[in-house]
């Protein structure tokens, strides 16, 4: 019996592709002639989660809550303040820059802005081939361009366009170039950093479907960062909700939408527009005040100044992220009351 349980445990563990533990990124605030550090912006403050192989993990939260910083810190595009990111048994954050480069091809990123993420002076073929060249894959230049053609075709761009410059393409096409650039290295995990936020709704759907197809074909794992709940609901398996640099809730997407156990999640869900003008919603929760500054976050639970359920304990004790049901984590003192309300 015990053996079986242990086997299950290891099986569960082996499925985990990437595990982030207690990740922190503080940006210094400098002032004065001597650039003394007078404070810290706690953009990401102790974030822990894991991504299973083959799944799509959605990461949502309002702007400025540290979603993008989390994504970029995992790939070490920004150096973290502390924490660990385990990938295949290796802590990426403790690697030297040179050793980290070996993992670069396995972990890729698609950026939000299809305009500033492509070098305006490079041809499409060189943009897509850049990773191949850096990783010394593909041998000769001609061979590399053949690979580029194949991937351009796969993301829905005609290989005839390979000699063009980025400004000759539309936003959606540019995002396809960005996807091909990430895909060409044959990665295991792709961080989609608001990959569709800058696009029109109709183009968003095309790109989301493309990402879906690619996931199946290439056995990809996504960390999908977004602020649009409908998009995240469509593409994700599980969803992480962040508020002011901390995770407030992690759950399976259906569970999260039906049974949100954190007041912030509930408020966020109630703010999600329903694409039907005849529906009158009554359950809209309107939060008081603004998001506090991450340079000076509130004591205790960071959400307590805006929370309608706040009690004195909330301003004193920071609630830990606990697993209240299998695969449902929440950081709130009153999750039981929330569960009853639902």
């Amino acid at each position: 019996m015990e053996k079986l349980e242990e086997q299950k445990k290891t099986e569960k563990k082996s499925k985990i592709l990437l595990e982030v533990k207690n990740l922190k990124k503080y940006f210094p605030i400098k002032a004065g002639v001597f650039k003394r550090t007078v404070g810290w912006v706690k953009a990401v403050d102790g974030v822990s989660f894991y991504i299973r192989k083959g799944e799509t993990l959605g990461l949502v939260g309002e702007s400025g809550c540290g979603k993008t910083t989390t994504g970029q810190t995992i790939l070490r595009l920004i150096e973290p303040t502390s924490g660990t990111v385990h990938y295949g048994g290796v802590d990426l954050l403790s690697l030297s820059k040179r050793k980290m480069n070996k993992y670069r091809s396995k972990l890729q990123i698609i950026f939000q802005d299809p305009y500033s993420s492509l070098d305006p002076r490079m041809r499409v073929k060189d943009i897509i081939a850049e990773g191949l060249k850096s990783a010394h894959i593909g041998g000769s230049r001609k061979n590399r361009y053949d690979i580029v053609k194949k991937y351009m075709d796969r993301v829905g761009l005609s290989p005839l366009y390979m000699n063009r410059f980025p400004h000759e393409f539309s936003g959606g096409q540019r995002q396809r170039i960005g996807i091909a650039r990430a895909l060409v290295l044959n990665p295991e995990l792709i961080v989609c950093d608001e990959a569709v936020s800058a696009l029109d709704v109709s183009i968003q759907a095309q790109i989301l479907n493309l990402l879906d197809d690619l996931q199946k074909d290439f056995n990809l794992t996504y960390l999908f960062i977004a602020h649009d709940l409908n998009v995240v609901k469509h593409i994700s398996d599980r969803i992480v909700v962040m508020y002011l640099g901390k995770i407030v809730e992690i759950a399976n997407k259906h569970e999260l939408f039906i049974n949100p156990l954190h007041p912030y999640t509930k408020a966020l869900l109630s703010a999600n527009p329903i694409p039907d003008p005849t529906v009158k919603r009554k359950d809209r929760i309107i939060l008081r005040g603004d998001v506090p500054s991450p340079a000076n976050p509130p004591s205790g639970c960071r959400f307590h100044p805006r929370c309608w359920m706040a009690k004195p304990i909330c301003s004193q004790e920071d609630p830990p992220l606990i697993e209240v049901q299998p695969d449902h984590y929440v950081a709130c003192h009153f999750w039981k009351e929330m569960a009853e309300q639902n």
Binding site: Q72, L75, L77, N101, R104, S105, Q108, I109, F111, Q112, D113, S116, S117, L118, D119, P120, R121, M122, E130, G131, K133, S134, A135, F165, H167, G178, R181, L185
Partner: protein, 295 residues
């Protein structure tokens, strides 16, 4: 490449920039074909202006000397033609080397930031603290006159402008997501700088270079005028103007009888500076970032 063709088209369409381009190309032609236009009497020392006699009084233009001769019977025509080569030599060497130093310092400073930036920029500030001409004169005085010393002195006090310009430009470019994308792809730092950052940061520099192609030879001519430049008899516009100093107004008879000694070298200098300035001005308009959108 396609962009350069577009820029070239715009240059030709606008009359002022076209004039600038023509003047500059004219000088380039003169510099290239100098040995044909003004055949050096002693091919081993082509930069030595030939002397047409031993009289100290200038001689007016004649068939033999189209622009006349200046003090010491130096041939003005020959001096202007070969002085063009001197001007280009000074411009290219001084600006080229200043650019290399400036590009290196500015790029490293901006790309790495932090204390590297702090140290390099403070060094730049120290050099900027010297008044330009005074600094150059001091260095030339210490090293002794001569064209190479003048060029060295000019480089020592001229690279800072490029360093600052490039630093500002790189600081802006490196914030673009394609630089971060390069790092995510594992592209090494040197290639990120050479492939992504410099090609995008270089445009303000091109404008500055074209303006400086006018300024630097003018400064060298000014030093030459002060007797700090090339040795006596070396073909340079500054020296020709220096020779004419005593003949601008004649002491006897017609006050303007020696007009040719000052007019021809001055026209050469003014046209040269004007050509580069017109070209630089129009390049600045054409390369204005707001007009570059969609190019």
């Amino acid at each position: 490449m396609e962009k350069f063709i577009k820029i070239a088209k715009k240059l030709i369409r606008n009359p002022t920039s076209f004039a600038g381009l023509i003047i500059v190309l004219l000088y380039v032609g003169i510099a290239i074909f100098a040995p044909i236009i003004a055949k050096p009497p002693y091919p081993d020392t082509p930069y030595e202006m030939p002397q047409m006699g031993w009289s100290s009084i200038p001689k007016p233009p004649s068939w033999q000397d189209p622009f006349g001769t200046t003090q010491g019977q130096y041939d003005i025509y020959y001096g202007i033609i070969w002085g063009t080569r001197t001007a280009f030599k000074i411009g290219i060497v001084v600006i080229g080397l200043s650019l290399i130093i400036g590009l290196t310092v500015g790029t490293i400073s901006a790309y790495f930031g932090g204390w590297v930036d702090e140290i390099l920029m403070r060094i730049t500030d120290i050099f900027l603290a010297f008044p330009f001409l005074v600094g150059v004169i001091v260095v030339v005085t210490v090293l002794g006159p001569g064209l190479s010393h003048v060029m060295l002195a000019l480089i020592i006090f001229y690279w800072m402008g490029y360093a600052r310009l490039i630093r500002g430009s790189v600081l802006e470019i490196k914030e673009n997501e394609y630089v971060m994308a390069g790092r995510a792809l594992g592209t090494p730092g040197y290639r990120i700088i050479s492939r992504h950052i410099l090609p995008n940061a270089i445009f303000p520099i091109i404008i500055q270079v074209s303006m400086d192609m006018a300024t630097i030879p003018l400064t060298a001519a000014a030093l030459s005028f002060l007797g700090l430049g090339a040795p006596v008899g070396y073909a340079s516009w500054g020296q020709l103007v220096a020779f004419s100093r005593n003949w601008i107004v004649s002491s006897s008879g017609n006050p303007l009888s020696y007009w040719y000694t000052i007019t021809f070298p001055s026209v050469a200098i003014v046209l040269y500076a004007m050509g580069w300035n017109l070209l630089g001005d129009s390049l600045r308009d054409i390369l204005d970032p707001r007009m570059l959108i969609g190019m």
